[in-house]
Symmetry: C2
Subunit: 433 residues, 2 copies
């Protein structure tokens, strides 16, 4: 890139952030969007619903960047002070815009609700501001601020967006995108994600870091999530295609080095990959879940179109359900214990047989917080878990180990372990499917 | 409170925040802790791994507050610059502390790993700083900064904590708590939460706001979550018991005004309330889930001890599963449609009968993104949903309406609607249980 990278800051207005009632996920989303346009985000700053604090924050940030995106404080109440603060910071008194009031009124009419008098406040913007009609009831606007600096006077772009996430996202391209065009943000940054299951972050880093030690164009980062470790590869280019092309050799090298531990690249998560492979084979899946109690089926059903593959399943939380819903011999559970490889294998077979699905997937485990006593008197600590897959030929593959983390983490990791076993069986990397 | 409230800011150091790779949940957690001690948090600020940016941020914040908690940038690599930045900001060069190096080494010995030479960097702190041995490998430290202001010179406390959440939490009381004691933060703030299901935020606000209009001691806030609307009532007192006592009349008034729409107070969410009422009656529950595909059972199983009540259930995602796992007549589904009140009622009855549980809970719905065509040819848009409860006497109560939001929101709201119907039936507010 030839032009210098534009610099931006995100200012979030709202006392609920400072009280700890709300986490600022807007700043995260906006940062990703700005980064994709090649913009360097230098600061996130949160301030309360206080006029002086907002003005001071705008002035400090404007001295350091080219663009300040202000989120929140555009509602209809007296606590919503972003309009007044940007008017004060820029020395441009608020003016009422008739066309904005009409656009706000139209939103109320469409929702079949009367517009309260206080919503007229939302039609006010600093004099001369560029404004966009609302997605909800708050219009967005942009206004320039002249800043004196060591290199002489320069113009900083201020953009005000609503704090409600979907409203901000809907207005983003118009309000922020247009400012980025004006700032000459023509570069593009692309981040590719290689998703890895079944290996720890440091183990993955030890394999991947040496591969990219000599590539100054690709930035490497690792993110350890409950469901997977993400290897993130970032490159910048003149446009999206160029940036993407720069990442490709690195993506290929990482995928080759990690082999079967790679679940997918970019948006390809474990659920999507498993559903797509089964759909391609024209095969269906059913579940039998003890410790996860339906969470695996629910994860699969998060994916639109899951109904082509997911038939359903049984939640066999209590031992009574293992007998009544999965038809397990009470003797088997009494002899082997509810958390055991033989019971898990029997559940995987039952999931398949009872639904007529081609594949059955089952889990048992000790989610915690306390241990469970096995029939032989040994204590199974929290995290003890088994998972099993039954294939179209009736053959069952079982795995098990002790998973780390608290109760929610164990339940989520158990779901990932089971889905990953199914993925590896489908790939022929495990068992005889 | 007689003394003025101490003011604080949270400075988070780490480029991953500005790249959008990570959301700053540390700032949320710290804000809650500070608020409980009666501290006013005025700013959250995030900066990248850049020495000048960290120094500028510390100086700007120190001009506005009494305490700056700096999170992150204490690792062993050259990107970890918080130590250097606080040394520069305070004019106190870094010094090596032998006792900190020994504490770091002890952590490595305990983990059975060798200590790398670069970890010695973590034993360096600004001259004269108070330091605490690490929870992970990064010690925390505190150092004062003299600031000139309109009222003359004053001392601002800077505290550096690791960015890893569990490490920061473990060091919090020692490092930040001790500074708050020194700042005279003796007050306490308590927030109570009244959880409301089945009514919208503005509807709830219209009922609650007039109740508290004349109470200057209790601050009111509303949070609309997918699972519930939270009415938050906050008061400050000399200690936790005093602050809590001030909130109680407001909590009582809100609960009385909202009646059966109140699910619970404070930590009492819908899942916990339903499980507790069933446990008190010695009764059990089973589910039959179509659109939610196991998510309701999984939500219940998130609560430790759920196994006393939750037997299990069936996930009847495909129509074939509705027949095979729940025993529904294929005719019924063909005639009424899979998303219909009669099918949902039959599923609730099947959940109970097939498991031997006392209660059955069932849902059907169109999660989206596309519509579903009913047997009579009408299009059921996304959000169309039914839920039903079958009680110990076999009687079934069914409700239905169109839920708003995208696919994940519809699935979550459907689960809440069904659990809330069960709660109201258990309370005798609906049906004849």
């Amino acid at each position: 890139m030839s032009a210098p990278r534009p610099r931006a800051a995100i200012l979030s207005v709202g006392s609920e952030l400072l009280l700890g009632d709300l986490t600022d996920t807007n700043a995260t989303w906006m940062s990703v969007r700005l980064r994709e346009r090649g913009v360097a985000v230098l600061h996130h700053l949160a301030v309360g619903d206080d006029l002086d604090a907002i003005v001071a924050a705008v002035r400090w940030l404007a001295g350091r960047v080219d663009l300040v995106v202000v989120g929140g404080g555009l509602g209809p109440t007296s606590d919503d002070l972003t309009r007044e603060a940007l008017a004060a910071a820029t020395g441009r008194p608020l003016e009422h815009r008739e066309e904005l009031e009409e656009a706000i009124l139209a939103r109320f009419v469409a929702a079949g609700r009367p517009m309260a008098p206080r919503n007229r406040r939302q039609a006010r913007v600093p004099t001369g501001a560029t404004a966009w009609p609302p997605a909800g009831t708050a219009p967005a606007f942009a206004v320039p601020l002249d800043v004196d600096g060591p290199g002489g006077a320069r113009e900083v772009q201020l953009v005000a967006l609503p704090g409600v996430p979907w409203e901000a996202r809907e207005l983003w391209d118009d309000a922020v995108g247009s400012r980025l065009d004006a700032l000459g943000a023509t570069g593009a940054t692309v981040t590719r994600t290689v998703r890895v299951v079944g290996r720890g972050e440091s183990d993955v880093a030890a394999v991947v870091e040496p591969l990219l030690a000599d590539d100054p164009e690709v930035t490497l980062a690792f993110l350890a999530r409950r469901r997977a470790v993400h290897v993130r590869l970032t490159a910048t280019g003149a446009d999206v295609a160029g940036a993407r092309a720069r990442t490709q050799p690195a993506v290929d090298a990482v995928v080759a080095a990690l082999g079967a531990a790679v679940v997918g690249v970019d948006e390809d998560d474990l659920e999507a990959v498993v559903l797509r492979r089964l759909a391609a084979r024209g095969e269906t899946l059913a579940t039998a879940e003890s410790a996860t109690a339906g969470a695996i089926a629910a994860r699969l059903a998060e994916v639109p179109g899951a109904s082509r593959v997911l038939v359903g399943g049984v939640v066999v939380y209590a031992d009574a359900a293992k007998a009544r819903l999965a038809g397990l011999e009470p003797d088997l559970v009494a002899r082997e214990g509810a958390v055991s490889a033989p019971v898990t294998a029997a559940l995987a077979r039952a999931a398949r047989d009872r639904t007529g699905a081609d594949w059955g997937l089952a889990v048992t485990g000790v989610a915690g917080p306390g241990p469970v006593v096995a029939p032989d008197g040994t204590e199974l600590p929290p995290g003890t878990a088994h998972w099993a897959v039954c294939g179209p030929d009736g053959e069952v593959v079982t795995e098990g180990r002790r998973l780390t983390g608290d109760r929610p983490a164990v339940r989520e990791r158990l779901g990932s372990a089971a889905l990953d076993l199914l993925r590896r069986v489908l790939d022929g990397a495990v068992g005889s499917a």
